[in-house]
C-alpha cells in the first residue's frame, strides 16, 4: 500500500529549475540545496492523543517547484504544514530544509527566518495597520527589538514594497487599513507579505478560498510566475485551480502520501479514485 514518492532527482529537469541552476551552490543566504531538494520530509509520524495524524509520511520538494497537496478532510494537510513550520513537533522522522536546517529542532520564528513563509487558511493580516505597513513589517530585515526601534525605510526597501504592491494589485489601497479590505484583497495582501519575506519555500493553505473567478485566475498566473524563484506548496480543494497551476500533485490520505505525479496521473490512479475522487 505504501507508495514510494518520486525523489526529485527522478523528476524531469524542467520541474526543478533550481536544481539545474544551483547544483552545488546555495540559494540566497544560507540554504544549501546541493541535491536540488529544498524540503526533505522522511518517515514523519505525528499523533495526537492516540490519533495518528501523519504516518510514515515522506515528501520531497525541489527548488523552484510548484507542488499541490490534495486530499480529503482529515488527511493531515494542515498537520503537515504545522510540522514544516515548527508549530507541531513530529514524534519521529526527519525534516530538513535544504541540507543543513533540521526543522524538528527549530522554533517557529527561526524557521520563518530561515526562509519558509506560511499563509493561513483564514486570511490573517494586521488589520489596524495600513496595507503599506503590513508589507513593511513582513519585509526581510533584521527583526530584533533594537533593530525595530531604530529602523528607517531605505529607498530600496520602499521600491521593493511598491513592486509587491503592484504585483498584488493593491497600489490604490496602499494607505487603507488592512481591516477594510475585501476578503480576496486580504488574501492577496497576505501573499504579498509572504513575498516581502523573500522566502525560499511558500506554504499556502487554500489560497483561493472565497475568491471570485477572476481573482482565482489571477492567483494562478501569480503562482506560476512565482514558482521560478520560490518553491511553492499549495494545499487546495479547488480541482480546477490545481489543474491550472500544478506540475506535480501529491495526494494525502489518512496521514500518508497515497499517490504522486501529474494531476492526470493522480486522477487516473485506482486508489485515489477510490478514496477521494469517487466513482
Amino acid at each position: 500500500m505504501k507508495t514510494t514518492p518520486l525523489a526529485p532527482t527522478l523528476l524531469p529537469a524542467h520541474l526543478i529549475p533550481g536544481a539545474a541552476l544551483d547544483t552545488g551552490k546555495t540559494v540566497g543566504k544560507g540554504v544549501n540545496v546541493r541535491h536540488g531538494t529544498l524540503l526533505t520530509l522522511e518517515d514523519i509520524n505525528v499523533s495526537f492523543d492516540g490519533f495518528q495524524a501523519l504516518t510514515d509520511l515522506t515528501l520531497y520538494i525541489g527548488v523552484g517547484e510548484l507542488r499541490c497537496i490534495i486530499g480529503p478532510n482529515g488527511a493531515g494537510k494542515t498537520t503537515l504544514m504545522d510540522v514544516i513550520t515548527g508549530k507541531t513537533r513530529p514524534d519521529s522522522g526527519t525534516a530538513y530544509f535544504g541540507e543543513q536546517y533540521d526543522l524538528t529542532t527549530m522554533s517557529e520564528v527561526q524557521i520563518a527566518q530561515a526562509g519558509i513563509g506560511r499563509k493561513f487558511q483564514k486570511p490573517t493580516v494586521f488589520e489596524a495597520l495600513s496595507v503599506f505597513e503590513n508589507l513593511e513589517l513582513a519585509q526581510k530585515a533584521n527583526k530584533s527589538v533594537w533593530a525595530s526601534l531604530r529602523a528607517r525605510l531605505s529607498g530600496e526597501q520602499k521600491e521593493r514594497i511598491d513592486e509587491v504592491l503592484q504585483t498584488i494589485r493593491l497600489e490604490a489601497s496602499r494607505h487603507r487599513p488592512a481591516g477594510l479590505l475585501s476578503h480576496g484583497q486580504k488574501q492577496f495582501l497576505e501573499i504579498g507579505m509572504l513575498l516581502m519575506q523573500e522566502p525560499h519555500l511558500l506554504l499556502l493553505d487554500e489560497p483561493v478560498a472565497g475568491m471570485t473567478d477572476a481573482e482565482t485566475e489571477f492567483t494562478a498566473e501569480l503562482f506560476k510566475s512565482l514558482a521560478r524563484q520560490h518553491a511553492l506548496m499549495v494545499v487546495e480543494h479547488d480541482m480546477g485551480f490545481v489543474g491550472s497551476i500544478a506540475d506535480h500533485v501529491s495526494v494525502l490520505h489518512q496521514g500518508r502520501v497515497l499517490a504522486e505525479g501529474s494531476l492526470e496521473q493522480v486522477q487516473n490512479d485506482e486508489r485515489v479514485i477510490e478514496v477521494y475522487l469517487g466513482r
Binding site: 517557529e108 494586521f126 513593511e136 527583526k143 527589538v145 525595530s148
Partner: protein, 363 residues
C-alpha cells in the same frame, strides 16, 4: 441631499479644525499646569494664589496620568491587559519612601523599626540614605520584578485573561507581603511623617512647586517617549502583535522580546510615578497595591481611549477629577458614579473620550 452635503462639509471642517483645536487646547492645559506651581509661590492673600491642597491634588492626578500612559503602552498598543500596575507604582513609591524615612530619622532607625525593637537595618535598607541609590531602586525594583515576571509569562505564552489574572494575583501577593511587619516596610501603616527631601523642608511651598514641576516633566517625557515609540517600526510591531501574534511569528519576529521590552518600560514608568507621588501625598502604604487600584487604572485608560497617547491622560484626569469632587459632595455615591460612567463609555464610546473628540469624517 443638502443635509448630506452639509454633513460632509461639516465633517470636513471639523476634520480640518480638529488637530488645530486639540493643539490649542493642549497648549492651554500645559500653560495652566506650568503656571500652577508658580501661582502657589504667591503670598496666600493674593487672589491668584493656589492652595497646597489644589496643587497636591493636581500633582497626584499627574502621577496617575503617568500610570495610565504606562498601562496604555502595554494594553492599548501591545494588547497585554495588566491588572497589577499598582504594584509597580507602589514599589517605586516605597523605594522613594525608604529614602524619605531615612531623611526624617537622621542617624537613627526609622521610627517603626524602633517600635518593633529592631536594632539594625535590614540588608535591603543599606544605602537608602543616599538619594542617588534610592533613585536607582525606584527604577530597579519595579523593573527587575517586571523583567522576571514577564520573562516567564511570555516564555510560557501566557496571554489574554490568564495574563490579566496573574498580574492581579501578583499585586495581591505583594500587598499581603507588605502588610506584614516582618517584611520591614512598616506593615499596614506603611511610611509617613516625612520631613525633608534633599535637605529641603518637604512641606515648604518651594519644595511642593518643584515636585509638581518634576512630575510634569516626567509626564511630558513619558508622553514624548510614547510618541516616538508609537511612530517607530517597534510601535507597529506591537500593534501587529496585538492583532495577529501568529502572523507576526511567521513573519520572523520573536514576540517575547517585544513584549518584555514594553512591559519592563511600562513598569519603570509606573515606578517613577510612584516615586513622585509619595513626597507630594506624604504617605505610602500597602493599600496602594490593592487590586482595586490597578483595576481603576484600567478604567482610566478605557475611558480615555486606549491605543492613543492622549486618551489615558484625559481618562486619568476626568475620573480623578470627578472622584475628588464626588468624594467631597456625595461621598457615598462615588462608586456608583464610577460604575455608571464606565458602563456609559463602554456602551456609547467604544473608542473612549478621544474617539468622541476625534470623530473621523465618514467616507
Amino acid at each position: 441631499m443638502t443635509q448630506a452635503l452639509n454633513q460632509t462639509l461639516l465633517a470636513r471642517a471639523t476634520a480640518k479644525l480638529g488637530p488645530q483645536v486639540s493643539l490649542v487646547l493642549g497648549l492651554l492645559v500645559l500653560a495652566i499646569l506650568v503656571a500652577m506651581p508658580l501661582l502657589h509661590l504667591l503670598p496666600a492673600e493674593h487672589t491668584l494664589h493656589i492652595s497646597a491642597y489644589s496643587l497636591t491634588l493636581v500633582g497626584k492626578i499627574l502621577c496617575y496620568a503617568i500610570v495610565a500612559l504606562a498601562l496604555d503602552l502595554v494594553w492599548g498598543y501591545a494588547g497585554l491587559l495588566s491588572l497589577g500596575h499598582g504594584l509597580f507604582f507602589a514599589l517605586g513609591g516605597y523605594a522613594m519612601g525608604m529614602y524619605l524615612m531615612r531623611q526624617s530619622a537622621g542617624d537613627g532607625l526609622p521610627a517603626f523599626m524602633s517600635f518593633l525593637a529592631w536594632t539594625e537595618l535590614p540588608w535591603y535598607w543599606y544605602g537608602t540614605s543616599s538619594f542617588l541609590w534610592a533613585m536607582c531602586l525606584v527604577v530597579l525594583a519595579p523593573g527587575l520584578l517586571a523583567l522576571v515576571f514577564g520573562f516567564f509569562a511570555f516564555r510560557s505564552r501566557i496571554k489574554g485573561v490568564y495574563f490579566s489574572i496573574m498580574t492581579q494575583a501578583l499585586t495581591f501577593a505583594g500587598m499581603l507581603l507588605f502588610y506584614r511587619n516582618e517584611t520591614g516596610f512598616g506593615g499596614n501603616n506603611g511610611f509617613t511623617g516625612f520631613t525633608r527631601i534633599l535637605g529641603f523642608d518637604i512641606t515648604a511651598t518651594g519644595t511642593r512647586a518643584a515636585l509638581f514641576l518634576a512630575t510634569l516633566v516626567v509626564l511630558l517625557g513619558s508622553l514624548y517617549l510614547g510618541f516616538v515609540l508609537a511612530r517607530s517600526k517597534f510601535g507597529r510591531v506591537l500593534t501587529a502583535l496585538r492583532d495577529a501574534e501568529n502572523r507576526l511569528m511567521f513573519c520572523g519576529y520573536d514576540p517575547r522580546g517585544y513584549k518584555l521590552f514594553i512591559w519592563v518600560l511600562s513598569a519603570v514608568l509606573c515606578g517613577l510615578a510612584g516615586a513622585l507621588y509619595v513626597p507630594q501625598v506624604g504617605i505610602i502604604n500597602p493599600g496602594e497595591m490593592s487590586p482595586t487600584n490597578s483595576i481603576e487604572a484600567a478604567v482610566w485608560v478605557a475611558l480615555g481611549g486606549r491605543g492613543t497617547l492622549l486618551g489615558p491622560l484625559l481618562g486619568a484626569g476626568i475620573v480623578n477629577g470627578m472622584k475628588s469632587w464626588f468624594t467631597v459632595a456625595f461621598p457615598e455615591y462615588w462608586l456608583f458614579a464610577l460604575g455608571a460612567l464606565f458602563i456609559l463609555v463602554t456602551l456609547f464610546l467604544p473608542k473612549g473620550v478621544v474617539g468622541l473628540l476625534r470623530k473621523e469624517p465618514t467616507p
